[in-house]
């Protein structure tokens, strides 16, 4: 039998060259071995790969001889029986052998067409040089990744937050879970508002509208306005061209002036909100009288340099219906509280008062006189002082005792003149004069002892008139040299009655009601540093220090003073809460450090932690 063998090879320029040969045998070998009938120079082919047999010129038997199989119409087999009339395609490694029946010849012969299908090596593959030598294909293209990243950004940081906003719009309070718009935060909220961090809409209620006061006041419903807005604007005066431009631009973008958040800035970091800067006050209050001519508030800029003298509220008329007035403080300022009390006498280091204090062991063994703390006690919050209390603070020296019965000392009642009068009458009525010693005993009484001027006579006469002595005693106690008169102003009774009256005493706990003074941070100072009590001979003299005394340590913000105190150190912006301390960040570390440095001592718990 004869096989017709056609080898097709392709030239570099793509032309096909067909070489035809005939093999006149009924069994031919296929393999890489050069001696094979069908020589396939292919490393994927075994040297003796297969044997092909054909006995009738039509039916072909192919048998693998090397253990490696071959592909027959796409399936890997080791044996194949082929009817050349039907045709078949065999594959050995990178070569294809097409089996067909050559009907043009007589008799028909089996034809084998051998084509190399695979390239000899991978490197021989035709490729686009520009692509092969670049990163294309190894990394997503620039255009693709630009689109992917951009859309990712827009989805995560624009679409999702807006969706969150729309979804929770109108809802009173969002659940405390992640919401996409929290990625829009410009910084952590202050500790007071930290719980709102995930609920942007608790403040930012309307899109493209800056936070309004309504949002703040929904919680802070007790915040009072500082002053009517018209007066505030007048106090600030006409803005300069630059400020006016900023205001106009702000208004154009839905950002009005005078909102809470102008001063109370948020998203400035964790921890307490920052203290309000001095500038927010002085923008209006510095030179305000020129812009707001009818104001009664003095111009105030920096505390150290331009702050009006203190104007304490003092009593001008003492008594049951006292009258008060704010006056500008000076060394002669009087506070007519209704008391007579010379501070200088009580604070002397020597003399009768000092001697008595030492006898009563009030000086802790020191050879001095009284000090302030003997009479003045701080209030429970230690911010200021309790009013002086006669029974507690004076009576250890200024005793109102009248007698001792069975070890119990009876005293006149302080603050109740009618009771004093009554008690004295009762005393003189119920108690006889002290019986002279020589009236007792068993000695024989002799005539003459009852004569006028003798003991018996004196004693029994005294006993007889005893009750009427009360009038004298009452008069004495309320008059010069008496126990009440020393400290109080007394009104004598009219004719026919015994209605002694004492001018009521009103002690002011606080004189500066528009500013806040706290004694606690000043604990390490001597009282006398600020209060000139040792030189004061009158209880009417107001002993609170003038502003120049404060300025020894205190100056305004950034003034370089030992203690830099902005307006907010003493003044409250929202006047509704004037009775309490002005708001201040919980941990004012800077201030604490400075105070410590001027006292040169360790101040523990000075500010209540």
């Amino acid at each position: 039998m004869t096989f017709v063998l056609r080898r097709i090879s392709v030239t570099a320029d793509g032309r096909e060259i067909i070489r035809t040969s005939e093999i006149a045998r009924s069994e031919i070998t296929i393999g890489r071995d050069a001696a094979s009938d069908v020589h396939l120079a292919d490393l994927a082919v075994s040297p003796q790969h297969a044997v092909m047999t054909c006995n009738d010129g039509r039916h072909v038997e192919v048998r693998a001889t090397s253990g490696l199989g071959f592909d027959w119409n796409g399936r890997t087999v080791t044996n194949a029986s082929i009817d050349a009339g039907d045709g078949a395609e065999l594959r050995f490694g990178g070569h294809r052998i097409t089996v067909a029946l050559d009907t043009e010849a007589a008799p028909p012969r089996v034809s084998l067409t051998v084509t190399r299908t695979d390239e000899l090596s991978h490197s021989a593959l035709a490729r686009d040089e520009a692509q092969a030598f670049s990163l294309r294909g190894l990394i997503p293209g620039r255009r693709v990744s630009a689109w992917v990243f951009s859309l990712l950004m827009l989805a995560a940081f624009l679409v999702a937050p807006i969706y969150a906003y729309m979804h929770w719009r109108g809802v009173e309070e969002r659940p405390n879970s992640f919401h996409a718009d929290s990625s829009w935060t410009s910084g952590p909220l202050s500790s007071a508002h930290a719980s709102l961090a995930r609920d942007c809409q608790s403040c930012h209620t309307d899109a493209f509208v800056a936070v309004t006061d309504t949002s703040c006041k929904s919680c802070h419903d007790d915040a009072h306005d500082h002053a009517p807005m018209a007066r505030q604007l007048a106090a600030r005066g006409e803005p300069g061209a630059w400020s006016a431009a900023l205001i106009r631009i702000g208004a154009a973008f839905n950002r009005d002036q005078g909102r809470c958040v102008d001063c109370h800035t948020e998203h400035e970091g964790e921890g307490p909100m920052p203290a309000t800067a001095q500038r927010f006050c002085t923008d209006c209050h510095d030179g305000m009288s020129q812009r707001l001519s009818d104001t009664r508030i003095g111009d105030a800029g920096d505390f150290g340099t331009s702050h009006p003298q203190f104007r304490p509220r003092v009593q001008t008329v003492p008594g049951a219906k006292p009258q008060y007035q704010r006056v500008t403080l000076n060394a002669q300022t009087q506070d007519r509280n209704g008391l007579k009390f010379p501070h200088n006498l009580h604070l002397q280091a020597a003399g009768g008062v000092a001697r008595m204090a030492r006898n009563l062991n009030m000086t802790n063994g020191r050879q001095t006189g009284l000090d302030c703390a003997n009479c003045h006690r701080p209030s429970a919050d230690r911010v200021r002082f309790e009013p002086v209390d006669m029974e507690r603070d004076c009576q250890s020296c200024h005793s109102l005792a009248i007698e001792t019965i069975g070890g119990v000392t009876r005293t006149l009642r302080h603050g109740e003149p009618e009771q004093v009068v009554g008690d004295l009458y009762a005393y003189y009525r119920s108690t006889p004069p002290t019986r002279p010693l020589n009236l007792g005993g068993m000695a024989r009484r002799r005539p003459g002892e009852y004569a006028q001027g003798q003991t018996y006579n004196i004693y029994f006469r005294e006993t007889a008139v005893r009750p009427s002595r009360a009038d004298d005693a009452v008069r004495a106690v309320f008059s010069r040299g008496g126990a009440c008169y020393d400290c109080h102003t007394i009104f004598a009774p009219g004719v026919g009655n015994n209605n002694w009256r004492v001018l009521p005493v009103n002690q002011s706990a606080r004189y500066l009601n528009h500013g806040w003074f706290d004694h606690r941070p000043h604990d390490q100072e001597e009282c006398s540093t600020c209060h000139a009590a040792a030189r004061s001979s009158s209880a009417n003299q107001l002993l609170i220090p003038e502003i120049k005394v404060c300025r020894d340590c205190h100056g305004g913000e950034n003034s370089g003073a030992d203690v830099e105190s902005s307006c907010a150190s003493c003044h409250e912006y929202h006047p509704g809460s004037a009775a309490s301390a002005p708001w201040r960040p919980a941990s004012d570390r800077d201030r604490r450090r400075r105070v410590t440095s001027i006292t040169d001592g360790i101040v523990r718990g000075l500010y209540g932690g």
Binding site: L43, A124, S150, M153, H204
Partner: protein, 295 residues
């Protein structure tokens, strides 16, 4: 690379000769470097002088001003992508534009950072800042490799073109194929592995580092060496010939891969610079819309 090639073409054709000797970095006596420096110093000085209470942030009038400048600058810098497709000469030449792109882009680090008021956090605003810095950093990388690597590239090429490098390998492959014909199936399989190996295969990481630990050619050489190593080269053993050819292929592949590595280092920055620019513009849009949305 493309730009360098274009310059070379221009030099050969004699056009733009007067400007060719100076790079875009030193264009017009470092004019744009001076402009960018002045801009940055101006920003820093005003940042220190302008009193923003309670502290600097993007939401003050000063912050908005810097932000607007920064955003416009970013958009203008992005326009280089369009501008570079139109080559012109003169004061507004592409080179001048590129010079301005580089220096103004660098000054953006100052403007963008001051705009933030140094307040960074986990939010869209800082994301935009990070993307901006990433784009600028990749740009700096690009300039750095363009000034350092081309000489390494040409040293490695040894006056051969890319096509020639590939042809070297193809030629070795053909010879390997020929030399391996007498080999037993097992040895032939070893040679086939290297022939079937794609010289351009390898991950991005392999391209950038030039390390190909699973290189079939190196493995094939190792296996053949195990057989040839201990026997004398008599000259007739086809394995010896294959051994020699494999060694040559390893060398040729090494040169090709070094070439690919340097090219990858030269190219990679644009794959960050360009997509990150568009990511930045998207994040910037989100940033700007967000501050007005919730403000």
């Amino acid at each position: 690379m493309a730009r360098l090639l274009r310059r070379k073409t221009a030099a050969q054709s004699g056009r733009e000769r007067s400007t060719l000797h100076s790079s875009f970095l030193s264009h017009a006596g470092f004019l744009w470097m001076k402009v960018a420096l002045v801009l940055s110093l101006l920003a820093i000085t005003s940042y220190l002088l302008v009193d923003v209470t309670p502290r600097h942030n993007g939401g003050s009038w000063y912050g908005y001003t810097l932000g607007t400048i920064g955003a416009l600058l970013i958009l203008w810098l992005t326009l280089l992508g369009l501008r570079k497709r139109a080559m012109t000469s003169g004061a507004w030449s592409l080179k001048a534009w590129t010079s301005a792109h580089v220096y103004l882009g660098l000054s953006l680090t100052v403007i963008g950072t001051l705009h933030s008021g140094l307040q960074l956090g986990w939010n869209v605003h800082t994301l935009a800042w990070v993307l901006m810095m990433l784009v600028i950093a990749s740009g700096i990388w690009g300039i750095a490799v363009y000034s350092i690597l081309p000489s390494a590239l040409s040293n490695n090429r040894d006056e051969r073109t890319q096509a020639q490098m590939l042809d070297d390998i193809r030629s070795i492959d053909r010879q390997l194929h020929e030399a391996a014909q007498p080999l037993a199936p097992a040895d032939a399989a070893i040679v086939r592995e290297t022939l079937d190996d794609d010289p351009f295969a390898g991950s991005l990481l392999a391209r950038l580092t030039g390390r190909y630990p699973r290189c079939a050619t190196a493995a094939a050489l190792l296996k053949i060496r195990q057989q040839t190593g201990h026997q004398p080269d008599t000259g007739g053993d086809p394995l010896e010939k294959v051994d020699g050819l494999l060694s040559r292929k390893v060398a040729a592949l090494g040169r090709l891969r070094r070439h690919l590595k340097i090219k990858a280092l030269l190219e990679i920055w644009l794959y960050i610079h360009v997509p990150m620019t568009f990511a930045l513009i998207a994040a910037l849009s989100a940033h700007i819309i967000s501050v007005f949305f919730y403000w």
